[in-house]
Amino acid sequence: MRRFILRRLLHGVAVIFIATTLSFFLVHLAPGDPFSSSLESLATDPRVLAARRAAYGLDRPLAEQYVRFLTRLVTGDLGPSILAAGPAEDALAAAIPNTLVLMGTALALGLIAGVALGAWQAMRVGSRADRAVDTASLVVASLPEFWLGLLLLLLLAGKFRLFPTGGATDYMHDLMSPGERIVDRLRHLALPALTLALLSAASIARYQRAALLDVLPQDYVRTARAKGVGERQLVWRHALRNALVPTIVLVGLSLPALLGGAVFVERVFAWPGMGRLAADAYDARDYPIVLGATLVGTALVTIGGIATDVLHAIVDPRVRSR
């Protein structure tokens, strides 16, 4: 098991390394001088500008710039940001926890709801309820994130005033009592997390249903049924344990898409996370932030992937030798 984890970690490191090299080349293949506007916005004195450019090694040969780039990355220096009027890494560091909270909540909700729904459907396969939910989940899974988000925003926050219209906290948040503060955060988290969770739940439900239907006709399940185990226990105790495995794999593989969806949802709900920062950075042509967000996103996805792989290996020992 330990060797498996080690191998996966090394794999993850290789992935991140390739991604960073790719982003370096991306920057240098781009036309024009992306550095110029961010540097110029922070100092107008030509001598200062020249000194800054030298400090970033912008006039050195490519290989040397690459090495500098890597060392800077390792120390967490992403470069000057025009949007943040300072180091890009500070802006990102402030935004990352918000995205993690959003994605974590959405994933948890989506997983629980999706698995439960899929199991519920599998128990009634072929019935009208099953088919209705199947159609509904197909429709929901087809909705674009920003469209669903906007709909929820307009209805639940705009028309019915059940939730706030955006942001992570109220303007008076710091002056609230601790209890009020928690409620405030939850109220702001509700709609964006719900948007992502609905989409996840819909596709997880479909997948879980199919996986369960795969497992239910199996011999060991039939034996259990013959022994008189109730349908519900069958599904939840015996079948689900095996059918959960592909779902875990699915979750791990859909992390990049979830992060992509978070970009749109964060924009719609003005959630101060990495995705919104990246979108705002595009508006400002601020590439240190955008690249930083891409690399951090890749790292997060890789870590998530390793976690799900390890989970998979724990549940299904056959995987460890792959």
């Binding site: 030509p46 025009i82 009027a85 802006a91 002056l175 508006d283 601020d286």
Partner: protein, 564 residues
């Protein structure tokens, strides 16, 4: 189905009623009434301030915050006169000497910085040095051109020495500079003030001080309770960064925002219908224009391939029906701009003939310039070069984006290919500074004095590498007329010279003057406004108050500070 007419009449009436109401509020003496002390005000700003160090302030959002934290020597009176009725701020008295070429200010001996140290004349001296230093790049440096020097007479007295007398002397010296603390900033290198931490943690002498800044979310100011001129009536003012106009409208409706600026007729209609809000409509001091870059992009030593040609600029102006553009976007909230001024300015003259809309004339002019439409194509060409350019627009301004789309469609039948380059405001300024644009959709607040134009349109400003004459427009005749207007000693002469200056620049078409828009504020009705200036509605926020029987729950939180 003509809602625009209703709006027009309604807003006129509203304007008369409310501007006079606002004026009334300003004239009643502020009673130090415990009943009126307290309350919170939350207002929306569009962009997050980047620099709060006064000489670096350039965005209007930065100005709103900076004007609360810092103070000038004196402030304008409520009538907005440039020559008298000033109110004491850091200086509590002043006098004239040497046949009015010297003004001596005496600082209030009780004035303190937010960190407790006393405000001294040396701070004023230090601020002056910063402001006139070209490395710092203060955008209003031009106004100090006629100040010869500043001397410190003693720890509480400064003297401004002018090269000559002129009507706006006092206004320039007393109100334009926000004083900063020398003891905090003296050690900072001037060339890198942009990266100073002072921008995020400013220390001023104003009646509000910075309590908490949540990046990209809000800036919270609280009243300085020991302020030498009396504490601000409100407990706190929160500037909420809300770039999206829809979010602003929704949050005002839900009570999260108290004061918002409205610039679209649809939003105005939605909010005007709400009973808890009142509208405050101020005369227009904001104008926008499409600035032509007369120099080549990224290569300022060479002329722009398209826009160095006056005739082409004229042709494009003639091709645009600006009245239709503006009315289509704004209903009646805005009017077509005449030039680098607004009608509310004292020296403005709306009788100056601009370039009229003439579509056939435009087409003929383009033809005569050699821009012909090849068979089967939609874009004119001259020697295989297409008549194509991009308009740089700050994406935050939905109005400018909307007008840009209308312009794109309006120029299409003329065979002109316009693309729109939407970019974030700070990046927008960076590109303009670098000269990296064809046409930039810029906007300015008209200054009360015409001398403000010197920073943007004179030969001297074009020659400055750091200057704000982004288009590099140069016309010595305009400079001469402007100088005469600025140096004139009586109003009639000033106005005559100003008219000539404006006529010159309008005929030169360095820009297409697009619209001037009224500032419309929707304010929660519980507020009693004070000292509202047409160019700065926020000027008197420290004296705004809420009667105690009209307060809402968050007004009663008191001065307790948030846990850091």
């Amino acid at each position: 189905m003509r809602p625009s007419i209703r709006l027009h009449a309604g807003t006129r009436l509203l304007a008369c009623v409310l501007v006079s109401a606002a004026a009334c509020d300003g004239r009643t003496p502020a009673a130090a009434d415990a009943d009126t002390v307290g309350g919170s005000l939350i207002t929306a700003i569009q962009a997050e301030p980047r620099f709060l160090l006064p000489p670096l302030i350039s965005l209007i959002d930065e100005q709103m915050v900076g004007d609360q934290i810092f103070e000038p020597l004196a402030r304008m009176g409520d009538d907005g006169r440039l020559d008298r009725d000033f109110r004491p701020a850091l200086a509590d008295s002043w006098s004239w000497e040497n046949d009015s070429t010297t003004i001596v200010f005496r600082l209030n001996p009780n004035a303190r910085w937010h960190d407790g140290k006393a405000v001294r004349a040396s701070d004023v001296r230090f601020t002056y040095d910063l402001c006139v230093d070209p490395v710092v790049g203060w955008k209003d440096r031009e106004y100090f051109a006629r100040i010869d020097s500043l001397t410190v007479r003693d720890s509480l007295t400064v003297a401004f020495w002018f090269r000559s007398r002129y009507p706006e002397q006092f206004f320039d010296a007393a109100t334009r500079m926000l004083i900063v603390p020398e003891h905090v900033l003296a050690s900072e290198p001037r060339a890198t003030l942009q990266t100073s931490s002072f921008n995020r943690a400013p220390i001023g002498s104003g009646r509000f001080r910075l309590a908490k800044w949540t990046p990209n979310a809000s800036i919270e100011l609280v009243a300085d309770t020991t302020h030498y001129r009396g504490r601000a009536k409100l407990d706190r003012v929160i500037f909420a960064v809300t770039p999206d106009a829809n979010a602003v409208t929704a949050r005002v409706a839900s009570g999260e925002l108290d004061v918002v600026a409205v610039s679209s007729p649809e939003h105005f209609r939605t909010l005007a219908a709400r009973p808890e809000l009142k509208a405050q409509i101020l005369p227009a001091f904001d104008y926008t224009f499409l600035l032509f870059n007369t120099r080549a992009r990224n290569q300022r030593s060479r002329p722009h391939p398209l826009f160095s040609d006056l005739a082409l600029r004229r042709a494009l102006t003639m091709a645009l029906d600006r009245d239709l553009l503006v009315r289509g976007q704004f209903d009646s909230l805005a009017a077509v701009a005449i030039g680098p001024m607004t009608r509310a300015q004292a020296l403005a003259d709306s009788t100056i003939a601009g370039i009229p809309y003439d579509s056939s004339g435009a087409a003929r002019l383009l033809d005569s310039l050699g821009w012909k439409l090849p068979a089967g194509k939609y874009v004119r060409e001259r020697g295989a070069k297409p008549l194509a350019f991009s308009i740089l627009v700050p994406s935050i301004s939905r109005n400018r984006m909307g007008i840009a789309v209308r312009i794109q469609e309006a120029l299409r039948p003329f065979g002109v290919d316009v693309s729109i380059d939407a970019i974030e405001p700070n990046a927008f300024f960076a590109k303009m500074r670098a000269g990296d644009f064809d046409v930039a959709f810029d906007g300015r607040k008209a200054d009360l004095s015409v001398s403000g134009l010197k920073a943007y349109w004179t030969v001297a400003s074009a020659r400055q590498p750091n200057g704000q004459n982004f288009s590099r427009y140069e016309n010595p005749i305009f400079d001469a007329h402007l100088d005469s207007a600025v140096g004139a000693t009586d109003a009639a002469t000033a106005k005559a010279h100003a008219k000539q200056a404006f006529s010159t620049i309008i005929a030169d078409v360095p820009a297409v003057w697009v619209y001037e828009v009224r500032t419309v504020q929707m304010i929660h009705k519980r507020f009693r406004t004070a000292h509202v200036l047409p160019t700065a509605w926020w000027a008197g926020l420290a004296d705004w108050s809420i009667p105690s029987n009209e307060r809402i729950p968050r007004d009663r939180l008191g001065l307790k500070l948030a846990a850091r």
